[in-house]
């Protein structure tokens, strides 16, 4: 049992992490809230003044803000849909008796380890370039007009790149979950001649419900923060999301007050998701 001495030691051991994390969370957040209530432009230093909720009103009346929120949400939902549906199917496929399964698994998981700036430039240039890209060549060779991805469908282009990175993540998590499914249960279902569809609905899906929820919540946290893919491909104008807008307003337009208001909106949005995620993981701690 824990003695007085170890309890004290325990507190001492935990304290440094708690203190730095507390500061890291509270100081920037407090400052962001404070800045969001100021008229504060870096080009006009020394003239900060308190303006109440003006920055929020300004943001809420700015079409760019709603476009950014819209892009944020579209990006999150589209990538989630692709990675959950695709990931489930792919995980089921990889769970089959496959020759060279480990190699296939390595190939499938690889995109997740690619630096976002690399994947952005490789996709934008070597695949989606309207003249010399591989997609343009493929479409021309079947007699179609090539698509200028970043001019015509910038958000779709970003979604494809981001989904390419997160589909592997979902696949890996769901495959791990499927493989933890009781081997005897699988065998029993096979011996009984369970049709694949009922096998999926009654055995696999209930088992996957939790991991799928975990994937949805975790991907949402990361997808709300997508930045590099938009920044590097220069598609921030038409396809910019909330993080990009905050960067643009703050570091390019030097409007600290406005950018901070945007940052707070992003925090609120993320917190709604976090609330559910944390409850879910907390329940797991007990189990």
């Amino acid at each position: 049992m824990a003695t007085q001495q170890t309890r004290l030691l325990g507190k001492l051991a935990v304290a440094p992490s708690v203190i730095v994390l507390f500061l890291w969370m509270i100081v920037p957040l407090a400052l962001t809230i404070y800045f969001s209530l100021l008229r504060y432009n870096l080009l006009d230093p020394g003239n900060e003044s308190f303006v109440g909720f003006f920055n929020y009103e300004y943001f809420l009346s700015d079409p760019a803000f709603f476009a950014a929120i819209g892009n944020s949400l579209k990006l999150v939902f589209a990538v989630l849909a692709i990675s959950i549906v695709g990931g489930t199917l792919l995980a089921l496929l990889l769970d089959q008796a496959i020759v060279g399964r480990n190699i296939v698994r390595l190939m499938v998981i690889a995109p997740f380890f690619i630096m976002p700036t690399v994947s952005a430039l490789v996709w934008k240039n070597m695949f989606m370039h309207p003249v010399s890209g591989l997609f343009a060549w493929l479409m021309k060779s079947v007699g179609l007009e090539p698509i200028d991805w970043f001019a015509q469908y910038p958000l779709t282009a970003v979604i494809i790149m981001v989904a390419w990175q997160w589909l592997p993540f979902a696949t890996l998590i769901l495959l791990t979950a499927i493989q933890s499914l009781d081997e005897e249960q699988k065998e029993a279902a096979e011996m009984d001649g369970t049709p694949p569809i009922s096998y999926f609905y009654y055995i696999v899906l209930p088992h996957l419900a939790r991991p799928i929820t975990v994937v949805i919540l975790i991907e949402t946290i990361f997808l709300l923060n997508v930045f590099a893919e938009i920044y590097v491909t220069g598609s921030g104008g038409p396809a910019g999301n909330l993080p990009y807008l905050v960067y643009f307003q703050g570091l390019l337009n030097f409007d600290v007050g406005g950018a901070s208001a945007g940052g707070i909106v992003a925090v609120v949005l993320a917190n709604i998701v976090a609330f559910f995620l944390i409850r879910m993981i907390g329940r797991n701690l007990e189990g």
């Binding site: 824990a2 309890r7 030691l9 051991a13 935990v14 440094p16 708690v18 730095v20 890291w24 969370m25 100081v27 957040l29 400052l31 962001t32 496929l93 008796a97 496959i98 060279g100 399964r101 190699i103 390595l106 190939m107 499938v108 998981i109 997740f112 380890f113 690619i114 690399v118 994947s119 430039l121 490789v122 996709w123 240039n125 070597m126 695949f127 010399s132 390419w164 592997p168 993540f169 890996l172 998590i173 791990t176 933890s180 065998e187 991991p211 994937v215 923060n225 930045f227 590099a228 590097v232 491909t233 993080p243 960067y247 940052g263 992003a266 949005l269 976090a274 944390i278 993981i281 701690l285």
Partner: protein, 276 residues
């Protein structure tokens, strides 16, 4: 006993899996192949897949023109440095939470997790201004601090789930035999904890290596890691596909290899132990 599967089903599944796996992997393969072409061949239509003059000149040029090694060393210093600092903080914390849990340990863990949910844009503006005023913009020290704080919750959590699996009875036995706390740590706990610590280190080096929000916003040149170096290829005049590919291949290869080793840790680390 292995499940009996019909040959036909096995063939179809294998073919489908290999095809999909290949398609998903193809962009990476294509980048590697393109890095061995000349610029002219990289642009050629129809594209050349395998039959061209393979050359390694791009690798030489990338290094010559941009002092590539500086970006590599920045990436190494930032990712390994921030992970080591985080381990220094996290190992004692996770150890205490796993072996001497207090009433609030669970709440504390959940709270740490919640800090990870803070979107970086919520902190970007003040951090940028503080860094500017303290002269930390474009410094390795500043970035190490940010990356360390960003990944600390994941590191504590991962270590906690690993330490939790070490049976407490062993520690008690050691204590009964009269081992001091120090001996208990060094001779009993450490050997059992090393694999978990190594896995944590691996995953976090990967995460920090690929981090592309703070590294892009807080560096310009001196402390810029590979993420920023590759981003510099986005300017229109810098669009040389073969060189971009060579630079990209060098930037992703080491982490791809590490990542393949770290698959299992990835699942555990990024789901905070919710899926094992």
């Amino acid at each position: 006993m292995a499940r009996a599967v019909s040959v036909r089903r096995r063939t179809i599944a294998t073919a489908a899996a290999w095809l999909i796996g290949f398609l998903i992997f193809f962009p990476i393969l294509w980048t590697i192949i393109t890095s061995f072409k000349t610029e002219l061949e990289a642009f050629s239509t129809p594209p050349k897949f395998l039959f061209f003059e393979w050359t390694t000149e791009n690798y030489g040029i990338v290094q010559e023109r941009s002092n590539y090694l500086r970006f590599v060393s920045n990436s190494l210093i930032l990712s390994i440095g921030s992970t080591l600092v985080a381990l220094l903080f996290a190992i004692p914390a996770a150890w205490a939470m796993a072996f001497a849990p207090a009433k609030r340990t669970k709440d504390l863990l959940m709270w740490m997790l919640s800090t990870k949910m803070m979107p970086p844009v919520g902190a970007l503006i003040p951090v940028y201004l503080i860094f500017r005023d303290m002269g930390l913009l474009d410094s390795r020290g500043g970035l190490i601090a940010v990356l360390f704080l960003m990944n600390l919750p994941i590191i504590v959590w991962m270590l906690y789930t690993y330490f939790k699996e070490i049976p407490g009875e062993i520690l008690e036995a050691a204590r009964m035999d009269g081992a001091s706390l120090w001996k208990e740590l060094v001779y009993v706990l450490a050997p059992m904890a090393v694999p978990g610590i190594a896995s944590t280190l691996l995953l976090n080096v990967i995460l920090a290596w690929n981090e592309a929000f703070w590294t892009l916003n807080l560096t310009t040149s001196a402390a810029a890691p590979l993420t920023a170096f590759i981003a510099s290829y986005s300017s229109p005049e810098g669009l040389f596909w073969a060189k971009l590919s060579a630079a990209s291949t060098m930037a992703i290869a080491p982490i791809l290899v590490l990542g393949w080793f770290a698959q299992k840790q990835l699942v555990r680390g990024l789901t905070f132990g919710a899926v094992k």
